[in-house]
């Protein structure tokens, strides 16, 4: 009984997702690429780098990279702190 309810829920969610994926905009024609056209044409003059993706990650949107570095640091801190009380001697 419970398995049938869960299966019906999965079927409805899957059908909703698939229907919205089929009816999206055509693949290969992005709408309103104004910001990315500015990045492509001005990245070599302002950031002086050949790689546009790296200049976006570290120069134009550097604040998001700071947040991501904080998340990685906190995850490593959490894993090391969880295993701390099992280590009697230092490695």
């Amino acid at each position: 009984m419970k398995k049938a309810v869960v299966f019906t829920v999965l079927l409805f969610v899957g059908a909703f997702l698939l229907l919205s994926a089929v009816q999206m905009r055509p693949f290969g024609a992005p709408t309103n690429p104004l910001m990315d056209d500015y990045f492509i044409s001005h990245a070599q003059a302002e950031a002086a780098a050949n790689n546009v993706v790296t200049s976006i990650v570290f120069d134009y949107r550097g604040f998001d990279t700071l947040g991501e570095a904080t998340v990685l640091f906190c995850a490593v801190l959490g894993v090391v702190a969880l295993f701390r009380k099992l280590r009697e001697d230092e490695v």
Partner: protein, 156 residues
């Protein structure tokens, strides 16, 4: 029958792990010219550490990899990344101060398709190195701590 890997695995690991570390440093260094950068190169170098741990086991690495040293290096990397963000605080946060007129890595870039010049992007190269150091030591310390912690407290 002591649970170690065979002779072939250990010999190939001794030959190959230096090349993997060198390739990871290449990917970090050329982050502003080719696809790559800090995060990708740091993951490649952490893969070399994981290969060493798998091939030699926890007993072979006991005296060589120190978990406290790896954590201190990770903190140095995180603080260096934050300090580089504050370098151009006169204009805005995370401003590329050394881009076109700095002492090192300050040469202006040629517009259009060109073979890459290493001297170009300003603070991008220092930020690549800081994030690469942070990711490489962080992932290595996670792998080392999990292996030692899981091996020590087996369920009774």
């Amino acid at each position: 029958m002591n649970g170690e890997m065979s002779v072939i695995v250990r010999t190939v690991t001794r030959l190959v792990y230096g090349l993997i570390i060198a390739f990871g440093f290449y990917v970090i260094m050329h982050g502003h010219l080719t696809p790559g950068g800090g995060f990708q190169g740091g993951a490649v170098v952490a893969t070399a550490f994981a290969l060493l741990l798998v091939a030699f086991g926890a007993a072979g690495i006991k005296g060589k990899l120190n978990a406290h040293l790896l954590q201190s290096l990770e903190e140095v990397g995180a603080l260096a990344f934050l300090a580089l963000g504050f370098l151009g605080i006169g204009t805005t946060f995370f401003y590329n101060l050394l881009a076109n007129h700095g002492p090192i890595f300050g040469r202006p870039d040629v517009i259009g398709s060109n073979p890459g010049f290493l001297n170009t992007a300003g603070t991008l190269v220092w930020m690549n190195w800081a994030v690469g150091l942070k990711v490489m030591t962080g992932l290595a310390s996670v792998v080392v701590v999990m292996l030692i912690g899981a091996r020590k407290g087996e369920p009774e």
